[in-house]
């Protein structure tokens, strides 16, 4: 790919980034354009991925090159999904949906039982095993106890079918504090995560402000600022004229 196309690409990337950020100041046609482009480009990207990674290698090639007719079964099931758009035959889509839902539900059960139930209960009880206690690590025992107590108290909080009073109320209140600690930690992590993304975008904009890209970031930013100033005076004009009148 030529150097010109790469520089043009830099301008496109910087422009679209700044257009999307311009919404933070005010809604404007540039933001709306970038937003709709994102919608189309996102769908286009997934479409080409599904085309070249699924339909061609897993349906077209086996059917035409290897004569494997069994791929027609999932193909037909998949096509029934599309009948959703035609009310008279939309009931056909149930075949596709029930296949997906049945398969998905069948998979979810062993996943959650082994990973989210058994392993977590096991992990909570592990510090209290005789072999662990014999190691004599007091901190492990203390931390394990805190986790176990917190875990049980949080479960008490989620027992909505039992009235929260007396001992259950006390336990559920302790559970709430553990939940607050978890949410606080999650908030801290969320803040970090989002800032990392934002930093990444600014890093790219800084890259495209280099002389190599003919100061793309600066030029587009300046143009947008000029647009907002002109737009401000344009939309303010009728009020000023009214006042003058």
């Amino acid at each position: 790919m030529s150097e010109t196309m790469l520089i043009f690409g830099g301008w496109v990337a910087a422009g679209l980034t700044i257009f999307l950020f311009s919404f933070l100041y005010k809604d404007n046609p540039f933001f709306k354009t970038a937003e709709h482009l994102y919608l189309g480009a996102g769908m286009g990207w997934v479409f080409q991925t599904v085309l070249f990674q699924t339909w061609i290698p897993k349906v077209w090639d086996p059917l035409t090159k290897q004569g494997d007719w069994t791929v027609l079964v999932p193909t037909v099931l998949g096509l029934t999904l599309v009948t959703q758009f035609f009310p008279r035959v939309s009931w056909l889509s149930r075949y596709g949906f029930t296949f997906i839902m049945g398969y998905g539900s069948g998979l979810v059960i062993p996943l959650t039982i082994s990973t989210d139930l058994l392993k977590q209960i096991g992990g909570t009880m592990a510090p209290f095993m005789v072999s662990e206690i014999n190691r004599g690590n007091i901190w492990s025992l203390v931390n394990g106890s805190i986790i176990a107590i917190g875990f049980i108290c949080v479960l008490f909080y989620f027992f909505f079918s039992v009235e929260h009073k007396g001992a259950i109320k006390k336990a559920s209140n302790i559970g709430i504090y553990f939940l607050m600690l978890y949410f606080g930690a999650a908030f801290g992590n969320t803040v970090m995560g989002r800032f990392s993304l934002l930093y990444g975008r600014f890093d790219d904009l800084y890259k495209y402000s280099a002389p190599k890209y003919f100061y793309a970031t600066h030029v587009i930013l300046a143009a947008l600022v000029i647009y907002f100033i002109v737009d401000h005076f344009r939309t303010r004009k009728p009020a000023v004229e009214e006042e003058a009148a």
């Binding site: 990674q53 996943l111 986790i147 999650a186 970090m192 995560g193 800032f195 890093d203």
Partner: protein, 275 residues
């Protein structure tokens, strides 16, 4: 006084946006170079796990992130690949996320250039094509991976490649790792690590990191990198500072800004209450 405080509390949020922008852009233009002292235990555990693998061991690396989470996760991937190549491990890169293919191509471009110029494609590492059905892939990898991956991303035959010698499924691999911004790591743990007893590690965004603390505790994950800090910690451990470390300075300022804003707002609220 009361009016001033109320005005400050109701300040135009665009000024806050501008302040945040300036705080994040400043370290990019003028790096602060703040020292990163405390390395997370889970990052150290991951580093030690890879450090302890003998040369020729097989690392399965699933890069399941897209451009949206790139600033946090891409530096993690690069750091792990650098370390793995330094330890002469064989690497198999795959993805179950359509958006990751472009980012993997970038890594593929960089390996012969600056990451590990001495390593040869097909002999030391291989890149597999995207597959859309994660659970199908994970289950198949535990049984016979060539049923689902018969060719690499360029269409070359996979089984005959020197890098795949002695590998039929995950039981022949020494370590699996998933770097993702979605819940894909949960699936890897359930369908591969737990089911086939494969040693597994992860790299996640800072947002998701806390959700994996239980897995670290139970040993389902041998190590974990969380967000840009995780990448920066790992870069420090392997002695190669890159994008992860650079971003930490900007994050420092931004974090302090959020804390300061919350504290100031609450102090003003209390002040108003007792004024």
């Amino acid at each position: 006084m009361k009016n001033t405080i109320e005005k400050i509390l109701k300040i135009d949020r665009r000024l806050i946006f501008l302040a945040l922008t300036l705080l994040l852009v400043f370290p990019i233009v003028r790096p602060l170079g703040l020292p990163n002292k405390n390395i997370g235990n889970e990052v150290k555990a991951l580093h030690d796990k890879i450090e302890g693998l003998p040369a020729g061991s097989f690392l399965m690396l699933s890069l399941d992130y897209d451009p949206a989470t790139r600033p946090e996760l891409h530096p993690q991937a690069v750091a792990v690949i650098k370390h793995a190549f330094r330890k002469d491990l064989r690497i198999m890169i795959l993805t179950l996320n359509a958006g990751a293919t472009g980012l993997i191509d970038e890594i593929g471009e960089r390996i012969p250039k600056d990451i590990a110029p001495s390593k040869k494609y097909g002999t030391d590492y291989v890149i597999l094509p995207y597959q859309p059905n994660p659970v199908a892939v994970m289950t198949q990898l535990g049984m016979d991976m060539f049923q689902i991956y018969d060719k690499d991303r360029d269409g070359a035959d996979l089984k005959s490649m020197p890098v795949m010698k002695g590998i039929r499924n995950v039981k022949d691999m020494q370590l699996g790792m998933c770097i993702t911004g979605t819940a894909m790591l949960d699936y890897w743990v359930a369908y591969t690590a737990d089911k086939f007893k494969m040693p597994f590690a992860g790299g996640t965004t800072a947002v998701s990191q806390i959700g994996y603390a239980p897995y670290l505790q139970t040993g389902q994950l041998k190590g974990l990198m969380g967000g840009m800090k995780g990448a920066a910690d790992y870069e420090l451990l392997i002695g190669e500072k890159e994008k992860g470390t650079a971003g930490l300075d900007a994050l420092s300022l931004a974090h302090i800004m959020v804390i300061a804003l919350i504290v100031v707002a609450n102090i003003m609220m209390l002040w108003l209450k007792y004024l």
